[in-house]
Symmetry: C2
Subunit: 838 residues, 2 copies
Amino acid sequence: MLLVTATLLRHRHRHRLRHLRHHIRLKSTSPSTPQHYHLPLNHPTYLIWSANTSLGKTLVSTGISASFLLQPPSPASHSTKLLYLKPLQTGFPSDSDSRFVFSKLDSLSLRLRVPLSVSNSVLRSSLPRSGIRENGMRDLNFLEEKVVTGAAAELSCKTLYAWEAAISPHLAAERENAPVEDSDVLKMVEQCLREEMECGNKTNLLCLVETAGGVASPGPSGSLQCDLYRPLRLPGVLVGDGRLGGISGTIAAYESLKLRGYDVAAVVFEDHGLVNEVPLTSYLRNKVPVLVLPPVPKDPSDDLIEWFVESDGVFKALKEVMVSAYLERVKRLNGMAKQAGEVFWWPFTQHKLVPEETVTVIDSRCGENFSVYKASGNNSITQQFDACASWWTQGPDPAFQAELAREMGYTAARFGHVMFPENVYEPALKCAEILLDGVGKGWASRVYFSDNGSTAIEIALKMAFRKFCVDHEAILNFSEGSEEKKHIVVKVLALRGSYHGDTLGAMEAQAPSPYTGFLQQPWYTGRGLFLDPPTVFLSNGAWNLSLPESFSEIAPEEYGTFSTRDEIFDKSRDTSILATIYSAYVSKQLQEYSGVAQSAHVGALIIEPVIHGAGGMHMVDPLFQRVLVNECRNRKIPVIFDEVFTGFWRLGVETTAELLGCKPDIACFAKLMTGGMIPLAVTLATDAVFDSFSGDSKLKALLHGHSYSAHAMGCATAAKAIEWFKDIETNHNIIPQGGILRELWDEELVQKISCHSVVQRVVVLGTLFALELKVDASNSGYASLYAKSLLEMLREDGIFMRPLGNVVYLMCGPCTSPEICRELLSKLYKRLGEFNRA
Amino acid sequence: MLLVTATLLRHRHRHRLRHLRHHIRLKSTSPSTPQHYHLPLNHPTYLIWSANTSLGKTLVSTGISASFLLQPPSPASHSTKLLYLKPLQTGFPSDSDSRFVFSKLDSLSLRLRVPLSVSNSVLRSSLPRSGIRENGMRDLNFLEEKVVTGAAAELSCKTLYAWEAAISPHLAAERENAPVEDSDVLKMVEQCLREEMECGNKTNLLCLVETAGGVASPGPSGSLQCDLYRPLRLPGVLVGDGRLGGISGTIAAYESLKLRGYDVAAVVFEDHGLVNEVPLTSYLRNKVPVLVLPPVPKDPSDDLIEWFVESDGVFKALKEVMVSAYLERVKRLNGMAKQAGEVFWWPFTQHKLVPEETVTVIDSRCGENFSVYKASGNNSITQQFDACASWWTQGPDPAFQAELAREMGYTAARFGHVMFPENVYEPALKCAEILLDGVGKGWASRVYFSDNGSTAIEIALKMAFRKFCVDHEAILNFSEGSEEKKHIVVKVLALRGSYHGDTLGAMEAQAPSPYTGFLQQPWYTGRGLFLDPPTVFLSNGAWNLSLPESFSEIAPEEYGTFSTRDEIFDKSRDTSILATIYSAYVSKQLQEYSGVAQSAHVGALIIEPVIHGAGGMHMVDPLFQRVLVNECRNRKIPVIFDEVFTGFWRLGVETTAELLGCKPDIACFAKLMTGGMIPLAVTLATDAVFDSFSGDSKLKALLHGHSYSAHAMGCATAAKAIEWFKDIETNHNIIPQGGILRELWDEELVQKISCHSVVQRVVVLGTLFALELKVDASNSGYASLYAKSLLEMLREDGIFMRPLGNVVYLMCGPCTSPEICRELLSKLYKRLGEFNRA
């Protein structure tokens, strides 16, 4: 259908579109250079939005300015200042909103006899210099001002970018060959606000940033303005529409702002006698106040001064709403760290070790960045790269986050939640189809949904054990209804250091660890044969193999190093002597185990392919895991891949089965599957596994489910995310030929870090960069606080990290640009030096 | 802040608002009478939406009609028909869009020499009869038609409701005293579509339903039209805005439609020379085609006939998009049941017992109703009440579903997901505050977030056991680091028939059941002292007590019946002899147990308060549970309430602690907490429990977490839902004084059902009505298929149910009106009679 119409459209507008497509650049989905905005929050700042053009944004800005500035001097003798910014102005110089505000305020100050200093400046413009048009924007350095001695109030108006044509900025920028990047607009806004705010708290300051056109009108790059300004997430005032049809336009504009995470403090519009405020107030009840301005005189010769005087009451009310919303926001932000410490019970956190000042107050996130509130010194909102990938789940860049928000709103409205058993609905079916055509391709044929990695693992274990029991019925002497089964014990084969989740069943599949002690989990027994795995790591610029004690007879120099990381994954290693040694070792272990405990059977192999995440970011020798898989397959022991952490591009490939070069019978996915948005997990299985649950009774079915199994929101989000990550149009990191991610971490920097004196080892693969700090025994392990000072320094650099004891890591999303990763690495490298000296 | 401005607004518009508030009724948040729409889907039907008024919706309808009807007769000699509906027309009769379409098509058929029969009718209107205005709408019975003999094509235009004033329908309805309910509009639309469609498949039919004004313009009741039409969820065509500012208005309108779960097949707008299609196409890329119409002549004397001829190519393309989107949708719907059976692995489902034709294809949900696709006979979309409350989670009515969709869109855009430990962000903090001020009030002081009931229970058990170990350190001879602890065994005290979730740790806390066999869960051992509970139930019109065998010495007639349900919960029973008997029994059991297994300790009491859900909807005698709590408290055994099923109004109270009259140390909530939208669970705990994890090492902290712990989406949704359910303004079922739900199930019908010959017992409380069918032993239990034929009949009645073996239940949301519940019960009662005869 889409194909058909795309053609039709081109047919209709062939000439025009060809022309335009050539000139108007497609908006890049992810910024190629890292941006960290830092906005002071010690004075109120608002975006002035509008539901459409020509609804009087500038009248509203002027009215707010007047009500703020033109008051009798306060007894506290504070000076008062209003900064008015017009970032994007077209139709310049005949149209200039900043000049309008400037001149009206000047007139009003005379009319009301309140002394006021006013200025208006235009910073950059595409205007022809000496009558000759040149490409690009240039400094205009235009300034007009009127300084009134003794005035306690001051208005500063600034136009940041001005184009000549009276059309949308994206068209003007194209026509005048004067493009401006989104990031430049934001940097300029940030700079103007900071200059003004850093003057301190003595001035009573209010800042207005007036947008151009409607909320979703394009900016100069073609980005919609509501998307363009999103990284700053300034609160807004929405100028609504009082005309016929204006209720709809106002509500739709309001919803578009909310759907991008903005807060709106008030809706204000001009009265056209249609009492639009009644349905608007009803819709916005308990959310946002609605204010109505008197009708604006239509006579073009009217200078509107009387209208402003008449409207003063409404503007005063509006200004009060804005100031009080600001004060409330700051008050709330200031109290949050303390309140959090009083009511939350954070997981994996010793509350005694978390003083109030170390709690991070997160005001919002935009793509990979947190916007963090800092109360120390001047209040401010500053950006930090979320290098925990919010605990290993995050994928979206800003464009994708916005897309997911729309998808989730749609899905919630269309489906809410629908119970799954014996039902089908589009998001669940689509998600299942995409999974089987992607990570399950070539082996899986069934999708079992659950809520998180841990539940997916428990389901996988139930599947594997059933399959094992069916396959080994004769040996197990197992028959339905028989009580004999009670003495049968099935266990897993697993690797020491792997981690499969926090519910009891998942924990039983891991070797004893700090997580499994009696105090933590009194019911843990450890139901497995746990083997020490050989690991690989980068150190002093080279990839090394580390063999556990059980292989002590092997001389390390024989197999010790690899010339490249690729060599580690090379399938030709299958015929090496090491492969034979691995194989013999695994055989022996399995044999010894069944000899020791005759009624205990290894009923499943479970591995985290390639990387042990929670266990400390260890890279397991993939050859060893491949040997394990083969040995188990030879014995009809079902193979489970726990891809909860490793799946969906975390390691540079959609599924780590591609890295290992072998397929499982069962695999679990979660985390990144929904793009890091909401919980959803799946357990994929082969037909053979599925068939082992087939029978005439419901009691033979797999009786494990959660209320939100295959919930529509999760499935829709997952379907979107899986497609987004692997589409070369939306994810610029995908190498089209290989279906893998390009190298994200700068190889030279990685080498340098691996040679650093404080670094024990480095692991780098896909979106993961991890290093272990050299420590003595007392400082190693999960409870170590050794890395604390390093991470504190990196927070100052705008990088949010959390350690695994003395292991620290940087984790980005599948769409994060290598430029951003390079910046992260170079900051880390720099701080390692300081950490060394400390 | 809101208070301040509400006052300001009233001050400004006092007189006007008072007047209007009196006349314009607030939209009711939930329909008081059940509505089940049934829409045939054997021909394409579209809503024609618009981004604003006056953008040419009617021109588009006319153009589509012309391109559909005015073609050379097809060789297949199918007749062709277009039904054009204008549900809401104001400014009538001088404005009549249906008349416009009618007359233009007549002219175009002459111009293009394609014979066409045309008619235009107006069904109901507020027009004065014989010049005198009366209240209300009346039948107008206006019809004009032109029948062309031999014409293979026919146009039928209908205006459903017409008002005289040329203003918004909500104002016209008020001014002319001619209100129309939303449900009446929908019923009329449904009826017109059905009349036309049920003529069969021989005619080539297309139906258009043209809205009034913009997408969010109010209908006659004041409901926004995008909300009004939502139950039908017809796909739409959006007429966009090609003027300056029109990009923004078009995108915003599109987003408002999506945010209500609508599908949009195409965006079409009039060219104003601003190439608005470029940014629109970029925004809608891979989603919706954008089509551009030539400029409409501005000369009022132009009859537009030439414009329609010129635009034919675009309209033809649009029509093709609409038809192909329809065909694709039907094709997908037809294939879904089969595909589901091939790729899904449904939980709790024996796939062998689910033939394709019994799979329910759910196209959407609106409030409590599924919209179900039926392929049998004529394709259709029909509504079924979701009496499983989508597996016990659902709460929203249509208004709340829309509100939650907005909240989720906003939260996804503002926060995406943010990792929780040592961080704070608004949704998590607000959710925690609301929980501690609500279900945790008076006892809990900490909130531990997780993903589902099962994980919340595992966390609760870890908390309880730690607390127990700390409190009983001396007896346990337990010290940190000691290896002695290895032989200590802690177990739960629990009731037989209770169910706490599907992960291993939660399963270990339940007594052996069909879910725990070796085939299901080889690792299950049952780590508890499990007691048989006394239960209560309604039978033959009376509430009875049923004591388990262990109480065989008690004469049942002594304690056997209760005169009312309230009596069961009466706290005066605490001083009864039965209380003493219960108490002695529990004491004895605990004593005997510690005698048998000296190293085994009961470290926690865990109960589902009042109702055992998955265990078969049994009501446990609350006196017995209260005694259990007291006995455990006396022994310093921590008490866990599993309120995953019972919490948040499921049983008519926010927390069942209110019903039991005692508080826990730890409580788990999930399901309804997020309004039945997405997974989130919490474990609440007292300060004393929290303190038992305090120490100097991280290893003493509670090391249990999931990636999406306290995810922003879940927390925001929960905060909204918890507030919505208990607010008397949004939930009309709340009795303000008691903070409890009014009785939802008609008492007379409940009595009658409890006396029915096929009914063993009834349990009714809050949103739950359950009954157990009388069966012989072979048909009882979880795997029983006995209820199947009863439930199939009820599906025909528009009620979607799922049994627990021979127990069937109806479950509504906390906001569902008693009228809807009465209808459900009376249908059930009627079908019980037929079931009996079968």
